[in-house]
């Protein structure tokens, strides 16, 4: 095989160059810029300013993305669990046909859907009002942090549920049936037997969802105009209104740090998975 090496390196070289030049290099620039003051000296000024101006937004971002990730995990486990363990084929088929629809809907379209659906006069309030649960006149809509979370969960749950249910379907049914024969209920089997075996896949899915949500700009702008907002909006504002790349990159570094630990877990698992095949 050794005589093929130069050819093979040539085959991956263009793609590698693209990622190195257009991703790794700008990423390095962003790190340098975050730690450089306006006078060109290394400093932490940008971070001091970022925390001063946007400290609340940093916390807000972390809370929104974390809460969304937990909800996505719970819903994906429930959907995957019912698809795998559900006793009623008709209900399983309906669920399978239902949950995937938002899978490839772009964030910006999801944001526009929710901007109208969750508004005071949106379909959600109006249907609840018609059913007699609420009175629209007393409601204000959900266009704030709740709207952002709902949009994130709506958009990202199908992706994680698809991964998780795929992993669940590949499990050995024998342990599940053994537990059922011993009298374990569906929920117990899901939590004690099925979920531990798909924890790795679930983790990868949730990490990808977490990182994706950290870089979405359209959803926070379109769902919640006011303060506090997510740091993606603050970054766009620093760049477009002040050309202040220092503070914007400091916020960028904070978003990398949030994703960093999670991303490391994901990269290690993906590389291990690719090597295994």
């Amino acid at each position: 095989m050794s005589d093929q090496r130069p050819t093979l390196v040539l085959l991956v070289a263009p793609a590698l160059t693209m990622v190195l030049g257009l991703f790794v290099y700008p990423l390095a620039l962003s790190l340098v810029s975050a730690f450089t003051a306006r006078d060109g000296q290394p400093s932490l000024d940008n971070f001091v300013k970022a925390f001063e101006l946007y400290g609340a937004d940093i916390v807000f971002t972390l809370v929104i993305v974390s809460v969304s990730t937990v909800l996505i995990g719970v819903l994906a486990a429930a959907i995957g669990g019912y698809l795998t363990l559900g006793a009623h084929p008709a209900a399983v088929a309906v669920l399978r046909a239902l949950y995937r629809w938002p899978l490839f809907v772009p964030f910006i379209v999801a944001a526009q859907c929710m901007r109208t659906f969750l508004a005071k006069n949106g379909i959600m309030n109006n249907v609840l009002d018609t059913l007699g649960f609420v009175d629209v006149a007393n409601l204000s809509g959900l266009l704030d942090w709740r709207g952002i979370i709902i949009t994130f969960v709506w958009k990202e749950t199908p992706f994680v549920a698809l991964l998780v249910s795929g992993a669940m379907a590949a499990l050995d049914r024998a342990t599940i049936e053994a537990a059922a024969n011993l009298g374990a209920g569906g929920l117990r089997i899901l939590i004690d037997i099925v979920l531990p075996q798909v924890a790795g896949v679930m983790l990868v899915g949730l990490v990808l969802a977490f990182v994706t949500m950290l870089s979405v700009l359209s959803v926070p702008i379109m769902l919640s105009g006011g303060s506090p907002t997510m740091i993606t909006v603050d970054m766009a504002f620093r760049v477009n209104s002040y050309s202040d790349y220092g503070v914007a990159n400091a916020l960028g570094f904070i978003s990398y740090a949030m994703a960093g630990m999670a991303a490391w877990v994901y990269l290690r698992r993906s590389v291990a998975g690719a090597e295994a095949r």
Binding site: L20, I123, V239, G252, S255
Partner: protein, 267 residues
């Protein structure tokens, strides 16, 4: 009695889920055919396709943006596949030296929040004159699509029996000829899926275009965004539908192209 209760519960849960999945899409569709709709009316006051004419008349911004979007997406697919097919072949079929590090680098764009990288790309592009050009936007979209394209291509090539290529080599075909005439055609379904995916990702891409393309290059998602913030919900809904329909079609068709396990590898 218990079964009846069970079905009522299942029905309520599935009905609730259906409402939450389709409600937002239905609201969008209603805005696309509403000409006037305001509180406290639960449904549009007047209906019609007036705004469709506005969006699709050849002189409109949205129509021009649609053309730009389709052009950018088409070029992005070509660029992405030219990069992804050789890389996917090398990664899927052979053991490269440094296999692990190559994979790690190719996966990086998926592992970092990319917004901060995009405005630094824009800053770089500004110095070399690529900012606000179709080429600049294509490069950003190709970067965005590359990870998945390589991943799908590698999975597609890995699924093909290596002995077929060896048989061709034994019959005297060169390595290149064997790869191009035996392996490549067999990988076509996977590569088609890859192409469609990259096309849609490019069509729907917002954040990168927002930093690199604006204001010179306006794509459909940017028109939608601007219309929405300006309160033109009809225009926003119609342009959103144009973006939505191909995405839903892809979701429904994807199983024909990709097995679930390949799909799972996308993640």
């Amino acid at each position: 009695m218990r079964t009846a209760l069970g079905w009522a519960l299942r029905g309520a849960l599935l009905g609730g889920l259906a409402f939450l999945v389709f409600g937002p899409l239905a609201n969008l569709a209603l805005w696309a055919v509403a000409t006037r709709w305001y509180y406290p009316h639960k449904l549009p006051v007047t209906w019609g396709f007036k705004y469709w004419n506005e969006v699709f008349k050849p002189t409109s911004d949205a129509f021009a943006a649609l053309g730009t979007s389709l052009l950018i997406a088409s070029i992005t697919v070509v660029v992405c596949l030219l990069l992804a097919i050789p890389a996917g072949y090398a990664l899927g079929r052979t053991r490269l030296p440094g296999h692990r590090i190559v994979l790690l680098i190719l996966l990086l764009p998926q592992a970092f929040p990319n917004l901060a990288v995009y405005f630094n790309i824009a800053r770089l592009f500004y110095t070399v004159g690529l900012n606000g050009t179709i080429a600049g936007v294509v490069l950003v979209h190709a970067l965005h699509g590359l990870v998945i394209a390589v991943w799908i291509a590698a999975a597609a090539f890995a699924a093909i029996d290596a002995d077929l290529e060896l048989a061709a080599r034994n019959l005297g075909a060169s390595a290149l000829r064997a790869a191009l005439t035996v392996t490549l055609p067999l990988a076509t379904p996977g590569l088609m899926a890859s192409a469609i995916f990259v096309f849609l990702e490019s069509l729907d891409e917002f954040t990168g275009t927002f930093f690199v393309g604006v204001p010179e290059v306006t794509t459909l998602p940017l028109v939608m965004f601007t219309a929405s913030l300006a309160g033109n919900y009809q225009i926003a809904a119609i342009t959103a539908l144009v973006l939505l329909v191909p995405s839903l079609g892809f979701m429904l068709l994807i199983e024909r192209f990709l097995k679930a396990e390949t799909l799972a590898r996308i993640g």
